[in-house]
Structures are given as structure tokens and as C-alpha cells.
Assembly symmetry: C2
Homo-oligomer: 413 residues x 2
Amino acid sequence: MMKHVLGARCVRCGKTYEAVPDLTNCECGGILDIEYDYEYIRRYFTRETLMGRGECSMWRYRELLPVEKDTPAPPLRVGWSPLYEEPRLAAELGIGRLWVKDDGLNPTASLKDRASSMAVAKAYEAGAEVIACSSTGNAASSLAGNAAAAGMRTYIFVPSRAPKGKVAQLLTFGATVISVMGSYEETFEISRYAIDRWGWYNRNAAINPYLSEGKKTVAYEIMEQLDWKTPDYIAISVGDGCTIAGLWKGLKDLHAMGFIDRLPRLISVQAAGCCPLNRAIAENAAWRPMEENTIADSIAVGMPRNPDKALAAIRESEGLAVNVSDEEIMAAQRILGRACGVFGEPAGVTGTAGVKKLCEEGRLPSGASVVSVVTGNGLKDVANAIRFAGEPISIQADAAELLSAFAERGIEP
Amino acid sequence: MMKHVLGARCVRCGKTYEAVPDLTNCECGGILDIEYDYEYIRRYFTRETLMGRGECSMWRYRELLPVEKDTPAPPLRVGWSPLYEEPRLAAELGIGRLWVKDDGLNPTASLKDRASSMAVAKAYEAGAEVIACSSTGNAASSLAGNAAAAGMRTYIFVPSRAPKGKVAQLLTFGATVISVMGSYEETFEISRYAIDRWGWYNRNAAINPYLSEGKKTVAYEIMEQLDWKTPDYIAISVGDGCTIAGLWKGLKDLHAMGFIDRLPRLISVQAAGCCPLNRAIAENAAWRPMEENTIADSIAVGMPRNPDKALAAIRESEGLAVNVSDEEIMAAQRILGRACGVFGEPAGVTGTAGVKKLCEEGRLPSGASVVSVVTGNGLKDVANAIRFAGEPISIQADAAELLSAFAERGIEP
């Protein structure tokens, strides 16, 4: 029994459930939200508790995570990624202060490791030895890596169009990879069949309500790294909605605990070619599916699987929604590289692209303080970096050629 | 003046130099080694000093680093990578205990960030705003990233055969990349000309003696993470020799400080297709150049630039030298992925391949405790992972096909 967890409540119909380890969706189809007894937790967990804690991972916050007291933290060191203040870039953008949270430095190089670490912990509790999901992206590689380290087996269903590099990473982590000749929906259905048949633990962020409880740790870290001083805005890229929902959950936890005295506004950034959630915000209407026209593959989700929590997060925070083109995304990749030494994948830098665009449109006050979360490592997608990075200066092995090449380009070393 | 640093001494002729920030080689051509006043440092720096320190980076050890008291730590968070104990893999290999240090989780995804962070710190001290090197590999990308974060410009000289992905990463970090149509030697000579002409700070690990002082922090971390209990062996891949030399320097520092009571033996692992240093050890003779026949590009160094320090490290530690084939390297990549959830690049996992080979040859005592350092992230070279990872199970979107595909392969979920 988790004494600090009250239970799970459907965000759609309000029905409540006991927080067993293998929770899935509500019978109405809605996604569940884990509820905590903050009064109880406050008795033994304070900001001061954290100060002496050496644990450099998301598990430093285990009092606010939905796990039993004796559940071991999974082996890979997930979280506690760096938060860099970027005064030069803030000045360039014309805002007060800017920080970049580089979550691409997680073990399998994306924020999704936070959800997969939680999945492994809950699988321990469920007594499961096998975890499954259907995905080709960061969710799959993070599951494969985190489960492998824990000695668990994984079955991962991918549509046959999945890029070979991503499949190779799954195979290297020892996952059993089933490539399905069919659409993503068909792949998902086969995975559902198999999960039901063999009783595997289910790692699907829109079905398993514990996963966004892992993701929420990114909010805890940001706020602790800022010494609990709330920034005006936190910007993040949005695909299926689970990540921004987790971010908001973490912030609300801290507010309920009294660790922070106000909440920031969220900046939800989607690709212009695939922005069903931001469109719903802009139109103040229900979301509708969209095509998936963007190079930012990790957020190319035309049919978001967690729209309820994501839209609630943006609205509750009085958030801003902004869409960016692929060119703006790749420009943000270069800016983060050049000004900050941070190399993010396209979807990873989309949040920063949104901040830049809001600045250009004058939609952020000049003194605003902003945190931008980079959600994945640029090494995940070198092909697009190559397309947009430009060309080196090419010379013969000759000093005179070097001098004239610099002169031609106006380079003055 | 650095009160804790005595000076620099040539490892070849013994001549001493003052430890100015822009030290290069000795006039005899030998590489310099930085010498410390351990008696002095011991007065204010102990193992207990470290216990309360929150700094999760290599700069937690700044009392043993060759920098002025007020030199700022560069912005990117380098070091303090995880050390994982791997009991399952230890049992599989038949040794007592095994730990894997995943240094691929550094900001630009390799151990080289430790040297580049030091280069940036020394460039601060030298008042330099520009750093240069000639490399296509991890040294270059780590320099470009760490310098960009510090607001410094970089000039990086690459031979024109450099892979496009690596050049793209350099360009994304804002480096001025000069692609030289010629050999590596010609590229190096042009870079030397430019560095001399414009007075740039020189980041070449075999010329700048401070760089291995950055790398030595990997030894500090391993030992602190092991609670100062020395393992029997530490295994690492070896290319130009700077990394194993840095590792050994760090261990000797700790021994001189009294932080550890004995030194481990080093395991120097090279690719069988390019092993000039291990050949010198095996033959107990001088090293001679070799061809560069291996897929482990980061250690494909036929003409090592730091042979003196590297050979001394292996010999002084009564180390073992072992060479592994490309197949053994790629097998180690899969083993680390499957058993540990660690994805290393080929050169990164070469150390582990060596441990496995020594076990198979019965050259390690069965109770031995071994640390294996993974020096770079597998995402740096996805192409080779794809070649060796195997194929997924391919099926139509049909449950019966799934069942028969599993049955055919003997998979029992």
C-alpha cells in the first residue's frame, strides 16, 4: 500500500480507482490521474530534505512518486539533467532571463527515459518480467534501455516504415522487435492483442497513468535548480501531450506542497505542419486530427493520445500556444548549438524555436524569465542536422589558400 | 600563480617549465606532465571535503586540477557520469565484480568533454577567445560544444574525408570548419600554421599538457563512486594514448594524496587492426606505426601522439594489453546494450570487449573486480550498429502471424 497516494481518478468522468501497479485507462476510455495526500507527504518531505541528498537522478524525489517505499530505483541513472542559464541568448532574444534544460543527456538521450524508468519501477511492483509497447521513437528506445539494465525483457512493436537506425538501437538493447507491415494503428492493435494475451506490463504513456508521473520530475528538477523561484514561462515541444501534461503535474505538485508560491505559464510549441492541440487552444474548441507534416518526428502526432491532460495543462496555466515551421525548428537547432553548446534533435529544440518566435512577435514581455526544455539529443537525427548545417570551408593543404579563403568570406581571426 | 602546482616536467628529458596557461611541448619534443604539491593540497582537500559537495561534474575535484582558484568552471556540465555495477554481466563473464562507467553521457557524448572543459578553463586564463584543433572526432565536437557554451570561437581543421555527420555537428556548434583536401598530417600542419599565426589557444591533447589533467577526473569519479575501494583492474580503449595516460595520472594523484591505498592494474585494449602501443608492450620494445584497420574510428590511430605517457602508464601499473577484432568489438556493443542498457560507440565499448576476451582466455582471476570505461555514445555511429544489430521479426498485421513467427523462432513470451 502506498500511504501517500490516494488513488487514481479519470480526468474525463471522475471515476476513481485504487492505485494498483498495472492501472490502465478508465472504463469510459478516459486517462487516469494519480492523486496524492500532500498533507501527509508534507510531514516528512520538505525542500530542506532535498538539500543534503546526494542522489543525482529523478529518484531524489521519490516521496512524490507513485511507488512503494521499498521499490528499488531502476539501474539507469535517469534525470537530474543540467539546467544552463543562457545570458547571451536571452540578450539576443530580448528577454530578461533564459535557461535551457538539456534533457537529451539522459541515458538513452531523451526525456522519455523518465517515463520508462517509472515503467520499470512499476513493473517490479507488478511482478512483471516483460514490458511491451508500440512505438518507433524515444519511448521505445528508452524502454528497451531501461528494461535491459533491470534485467527485464521487452517486446516492441514497430510499423515496418520505422527508420533502421532506431530499430538497430532497440535490437542492441536486446529488445524483441516485431516489425508490422501496416499502419501505426494496426501495429498498436497487434501490440494490444499480445499484451492482453501474455500479460506483459504495458508501457504506453496514454494508457499507463504512471508514466507521466515519471515525466513530472523534469518540473521538480527545474524548480530545485532555480532554487524554487518560479520563472514566468516554461516552454516545451508538444506531440501526443503526455510530456506537457507531466510537466504541469509536477508544477502543481510543488505548488500543493508549498515548495513554490506561484505557477509559471506554459508555452506549448508544436510544428506548424502538425499542431492539433495548439489549434484547439487557438480556436478554443475541441481538437481534431491533423496530418503529420514536419521533420520533428518525435512530435509528429496527428492524433494525440493524451489530449485531455495536455489541453487542461495549457489552459489551466493560462499558457501560450505557438506553432513553428521546420525552418524555424532547424534555425533553433543552430542557435542552441552556437550560443549554448547544446545539440538537440528537431523535436527537442522545438520549444526553443517557439520562444524565439514569441519574442519576434513581441508576445513575451521584455523582462520575462523563461525556461526552455530540450527534450532529445541531436545525435538521434544527424541526417536532418546535415541537411541544414551548411558546408565547411574547403581548401587545398596550403597556407595561402587558407588566407584567401578567410579573406573572401570576411573572416578575421 | 597556482600555489598547488609545482610546474611542468618533460616526460622524455626531465626539463621543467613554469605552468603558464599556454604550455605546449618541451623543446626536445617530449610531452610535459603537470606536477602538484600534494603535501600542500592535503592540508585543505580530503575525502571528507568531497562528501558534502553538491557539484555533479568533474569540477568537484578542482583542488586537484591545474587551474587558478578563481577560474570559472566552463558552462557545460562535464563528468560525474554514472558508474553502474553489473552483477549479471560479471556472472556471465565469470569474474567477481564488474562496473561500467558510461562516459558517453557527457554533454557532447564522449569522455573527450573532460579535456575540452579543461581547455576552455585554461583558455579563460590565457585570455584567449579562440581555440583551435585539428581532428574529426570526439575531440573536435567536444571542443566545439564546450567552447560555444563559453562564448568562445573555434577553428577546427578536418581532412576532407571527414564524415558529414561529424562535420554537421561541428557546424551546428558554430565552429568555423576548414576542410583540407589532403592527409591528416597535412591538415595538422595547416592548423599549426594558423594557430601560430593568429595566436589561438591550442587544443591538441598530445601538445597541450593540461588536457589529460581534465581526462584524469574519470579516475577520481570511479574511485569516489567505489567509495575509494580500489578494483583489481580498470579497462579502457586506447588510441593516441592520452586517455589511458590521464586515467593513470588520476589514479596516481589519489594514491599520492592518500585517498586510495593501492593502485589498480590497467587493461589497455586496442583494435587488432591498429594496436601499435599494445604491440610495443607485447614485444617489450619501442612502438612502431601501424595501419588503421578497424571500425572503431575513435581509436584508429596508427601513429599515436602520446606514446610515452601511455606506455609508461601500462608498464607502471603492471597492466595487461589485449587486442580485439572488429567482430569482438561489435559483440561487446550488443552485450553492453542487452545486459546493461548502455549503448556505446565501437571505440567506446572496446574496453569491455577486452575484458570479455581476457575472461575467455582465462587471463583474469575468477574473483577479480573490474571497472570498464565506455568512452563514447553509440549514437555517434549508428551506421555500424545497424550493420551488426540483426533484423527484427517481420509480420503482417495479423495475430496468427505473430503466433507462428514466435513459434518458428522458439520464442515463449
